[in-house]
C-alpha cells in the first residue's frame, strides 16, 4: 500500500463524531454548521480528520467564526476579530474569559471603545491634526472609536507605514495617539489603504489570514519549503487524538498537525518533545559513545553501515552479526528460539543492588542509550530507505526491461515495498521514544512486555523486508516481497492499534 494511502485507507470506515460548536464543514460554504458529519477513515493510529487546502479556502471558516462571536456578544466584527485573535480563534476560550470581566478583557485586547464608542465629533469647524500639525476641516479628519482623530493623509501614511514596516505584526497596530491602546483594525486599514494603496491593503488582509492560521490550534502551515498549503482539522474532535497526521500532496510530506514534527505514532507529541529535548542535551555524550562506525565483533575491522538492513556481513571475515546488539546473526534465527531479542533492555545488566548515586546515574544513562541507540539506528535506516526510494524508479525500469512481458504494474511492488519500509522505520523509531517513557510500574509491566512483543515482531519483519528489497534485481522474488510488504503493514498497524487501545483504557 502506498504510504499516503495509509491515512485515507480504511478497512473499518467509521462515522466520525462531530461536536456542535467547533464543527467545520469545508465541503459546503460553511453556512450550515449542522451539515451531515463527514465520513472519515480510521486506520490504526492515524485519523484523517485533516485536510490540506490553500490559505484562501480558510477564509469562509474565519468569517464564520467572526460572525458567530459578533452575534453572540453583539459587538462589531472588527472587535470580534481582535478578541478571537488573542484567544486562538476559539469561541469557547474567548467566552469563558469574556464573561468573567467583559470590560477588563475589552480593554486588554484594545477594543473597549470599538464596543463602546465615544461621541463622534462634528464634521464642521477647523481642527489641528496631531501628526502633521496642520489645520484641517473636520470633514477631512478621520477618528478612531476612541475619538482620537487625524487627517486622512496622516492616516494613510500611518497605515501604509504599519503594513510596510511592521509586517505580520501590523494586525496588532494601535491608535496613533500616544498611550492609547485601542487596536487599529481592518476598518481603518480599509478606509486608509483600499483606494490609494490596494496592494498594501491586500497585504494587510493576507497578514490577517496568516495570523488566523498561526494562532488557531487546528491549523498549521505545511512545513515544506515554500509550500503555501495549510493543514486543517475537520472538527474539534479530530484534534483530540495525539497523532494527527496531515499529508501534503504537493510536497509529498507528512507531518503532525499538533506539533509540526514528522508523524510520530505511537509516541505522543509531549513525549516526543521531551525526547527531542533530552537528545539535544545528551547528544554530545551519545554521539561520543555511539560513533558512526562499529567494529566487527569477530575480526575487529571498522564497519560503516551503508544500507538499511541490520543484518551485517563483514566484508573481510564474512562474519554475520546484528548491527544493533552486535551479537551473532545466527542467534536471531527462528530455529534458535531467540529470534531478534535485541529490542529488550535488561536493567539487571548493571547490577541493581548497587544503589549509589553514581550507579543510578550510570543505569539511567545506560537505559537512555539503550533506547537512543535503537532510535538512532532506525532513524538512519529510515534515511537509507528514503534514499533507496528515490532510486527505486530506476530499479523498476531495469526490472521491467529484464523480463519480456512485464508491465509497469508488475514492477510497482518494488516502490510499494520501499514506501512501506520507510513507514515502518519511522514507526519503529518512535516506538523507542514511547517505550522509553513507559515506566516500569506493576500496571505497566505487563503492557510493556506486550508492547515489546509487538515491537519485536515489527522489527523482525521490517528487517526481512529491508533485506529482501535490497537484493540484486536478479534475485528479486516478487511474490515474496509482496507478501512481506503486506505482513509488515499488518504488524505496523497492530502495534499502533495496540497502543491506541491501551491509551484508551487509561482515559476511561
Amino acid at each position: 500500500m502506498a504510504s499516503e494511502d495509509e491515512y485515507e485507507y480504511s478497512d473499518e470506515g467509521s462515522d466520525y463524531p462531530v461536536s456542535d460548536d467547533e464543527e467545520m464543514d469545508w465541503s459546503n460554504s460553511g453556512e450550515n454548521p449542522n451539515a451531515a458529519p463527514m465520513v472519515l477513515a480510521s486506520s490504526a493510529g492515524a485519523k484523517s480528520g485533516i485536510r490540506m487546502m490553500p490559505a484562501e479556502d480558510l477564509m469562509p471558516e474565519m468569517k464564520r467564526r467572526l460572525k458567530d462571536v459578533t452575534e453572540v456578544l453583539d459587538i462589531p466584527t472588527a472587535a470580534a476579530a481582535a478578541l478571537l485573535r488573542e484567544h486562538k480563534w476559539s469561541k469557547e476560550g474567548l467566552l469563558e474569559v469574556y464573561y468573567n470581566d467583559p470590560e477588563k478583557l475589552l480593554k486588554k485586547c484594545g477594543v473597549y471603545f470599538r464596543c463602546n464608542p465615544r461621541p463622534v465629533r462634528p464634521t464642521k469647524g477647523v481642527r489641528t491634526c496631531e501628526i502633521c500639525l496642520d489645520d484641517h476641516q473636520g470633514s477631512n479628519m478621520r477618528a478612531m472609536p476612541c475619538s482620537h482623530e487625524f487627517c486622512c493623509q496622516c492616516w494613510n501614511d500611518f497605515c501604509a507605514n504599519a503594513v510596510k514596516e511592521e509586517g505580520p505584526s501590523c494586525v496588532r497596530a494601535t491608535c496613533p495617539q500616544a498611550g492609547c491602546s485601542e487596536v487599529v483594525t481592518e476598518e481603518e486599514m480599509r478606509a486608509s489603504l483600499e483606494k490609494d494603496s490596494p496592494q498594501l491593503y491586500t497585504r494587510f488582509c493576507s497578514f490577517q489570514l496568516r495570523s488566523f492560521v498561526e494562532s488557531s490550534n487546528f491549523t498549521r502551515w505545511c512545513p515544506g519549503k515554500g509550500c503555501e498549503q495549510i493543514a486543517s482539522a475537520v472538527s474539534a474532535s479530530a484534534m483530540e487524538q495525539d497523532d494527527n497526521v496531515a499529508h501534503c500532496e504537493a510536497c509529498q510530506l507528512s507531518f503532525c498537525l499538533v506539533c509540526g514534527e514528522e508523524p510520530h505514532a505511537p509516541s505522543g507529541c509531549k513525549e516526543l518533545a521531551r525526547w527531542n529535548e533530552k537528545c539535544r542535551n545528551e547528544s554530545e555524550t551519545a554521539n561520543w559513545i555511539l560513533a558512526n562506525t562499529k567494529s566487527c565483533p569477530k575480526c575487529v575491522s571498522r564497519i560503516e553501515k551503508n544500507q538499511g538492513c541490520n543484518h551485517m556481513t563483514c566484508q573481510r571475515c564474512k562474519g554475520e552479526f546484528c548491527w544493533i546488539c552486535m551479537g551473532d546473526w545466527n542467534d536471531h534465527g527462528a530455529n534458535t528460539g531467540g529470534y531478534y531479542k535485541c529490542n529488550k533492555y535488561d536493567p539487571n545488566n548493571g547490577g541493581p543492588e548497587d544503589m549509589s548515586d553514581a550507579a543510578k546515574a550510570k543505569r539511567e544513562l545506560d537505559r537512555y542509550l539503550h533506547y537512543y541507540k535503537r532510535f538512532h539506528a532506525h532513524a538512519e535506516a529510515q534515511k537509507f530507505a528514503k534514499k533507496q526510494l528515490k532510486e527505486t524508479e530506476a530499479r523498476m525500469v531495469l526490472l521491467q526491461e529484464s523480463s519480456d512481458d512485464a508491465r509497469w504494474s508488475d514492477v510497482e511492488f518494488l516502490k510499494t515495498a520501499n514506501e512501506q519500509l520507510v513507514e515502518c522505520r519511522r514507526v519503529l523509531k518512535y516506538t523507542y521514544v514511547y517505550a522509553y517513557y513507559l515506566t516500569a510500574t506493576d500496571k505497566q509491566a505487563m503492557r510493556k512486555e506486550r508492547f515489546e512483543h509487538h515491537q519485536e515482531m515489527l522489527e523482525r519483519f521490517t528487517e526481512n523486508l529491508s533485506e529482501l528489497s535490497e537484493k540484486p534485481l536478479a534475485e528479486m522474488d516478487r511474490t515474496d516481497v509482496v507478501n512481506q510488504t503486506r505482513v509488515v503493514d499488518r504488524f505496523m498497524k497492530n502495534i499502533l492499534k495496540y497502543v491506541d487501545l491501551e491509551e484508551g483504557m487509561d482515559d476511561v
Binding site: 496631531e130 501628526i131 496642520d134 500611518f158 507605514n161 514596516e165 496613533p176 500616544a178 498611550g179 492609547c180
Partner: protein, 170 residues
C-alpha cells in the same frame, strides 16, 4: 543658511515652536547644514543626582519621521541605569511605544523625567542597575560624581553647541 527645501512641514513647525516657545531646562537647536539633526542640552532636574549638570545629547529625525521615532543619544557621560556607555537610552517611547502624535518636545521631556526617576528594573546598563538596586545611596553618590566631573560648566562639554559643530551621522 541651508535651505529647508524638502523638509516636511511638520518638522519645520516643530522647530519653529521649539525656538519660539522653549521648554524650561531644555534646548534643541538644529544644525544649519542638516535640519534633521539637533544639538540638545537638558538641565539635570532639581532634587536628582543630576542637579546643576547640563547634559548634551544629539537627536536625529529619520526619513520616515514622524511615523518612526527620532534617534536620541547622550553625548555627555552619565551614570544612569537606563543609559549605556555609548549614551544610548532605554525608553519605551523611543521604541515600540512611539506614536506619530509625539514630538521632539515630548521626547525630550520624557528623557528629563527619566533623569528624575531612573528605572533600574528595566536597565540598559546592568552594572549600574545592580548598584542602584542594592545600594541606592552609593548609586546616587556615583551619579552625582559623574555629574560634577562631566556635566558641570567648565567640564568636558560646552552647552553652547551650535551651527559649526562637526558633522555626525547617527
Amino acid at each position: 543658511m541651508a535651505s529647508s527645501d524638502g523638509l516636511p512641514r511638520r518638522i519645520v513647525k516643530e522647530t519653529q515652536r521649539l525656538i519660539a516657545e522653549p521648554v524650561a531646562g531644555i534646548s534643541a537647536t538644529p544644525y544649519q547644514d542638516n535640519l534633521r539633526y539637533f544639538a540638545v542640552a537638558i538641565e539635570g532636574p532639581a532634587d536628582s543626582p543630576y542637579e546643576r549638570g547640563v547634559f548634551q545629547l544629539e537627536l536625529f529625525l529619520p526619513a520616515d519621521y514622524p511615523m518612526a521615532p527620532p534617534k536620541v543619544r547622550f553625548l555627555t557621560k552619565i551614570y544612569h541605569p537606563n543609559v549605556d556607555k555609548l549614551g544610548r537610552i532605554c525608553l519605551d517611547i523611543l521604541k515600540d511605544k512611539w506614536s506619530p502624535a509625539l514630538q521632539i518636545r515630548t521626547v525630550l521631556l520624557s528623557i528629563q523625567a527619566l533623569l528624575s526617576a531612573p528605572n533600574p528594573d528595566d536597565p540598559l546598563d546592568n552594572t549600574v542597575a545592580e548598584v542602584w538596586k542594592k545600594n541606592e545611596a552609593e548609586a546616587i553618590r556615583r551619579a552625582r560624581e559623574f555629574t560634577e566631573s562631566f556635566a558641570m560648566k567648565g567640564g568636558t562639554t560646552a552647552a553652547s553647541a551650535t551651527a559649526s559643530m562637526p558633522k555626525k551621522s547617527c
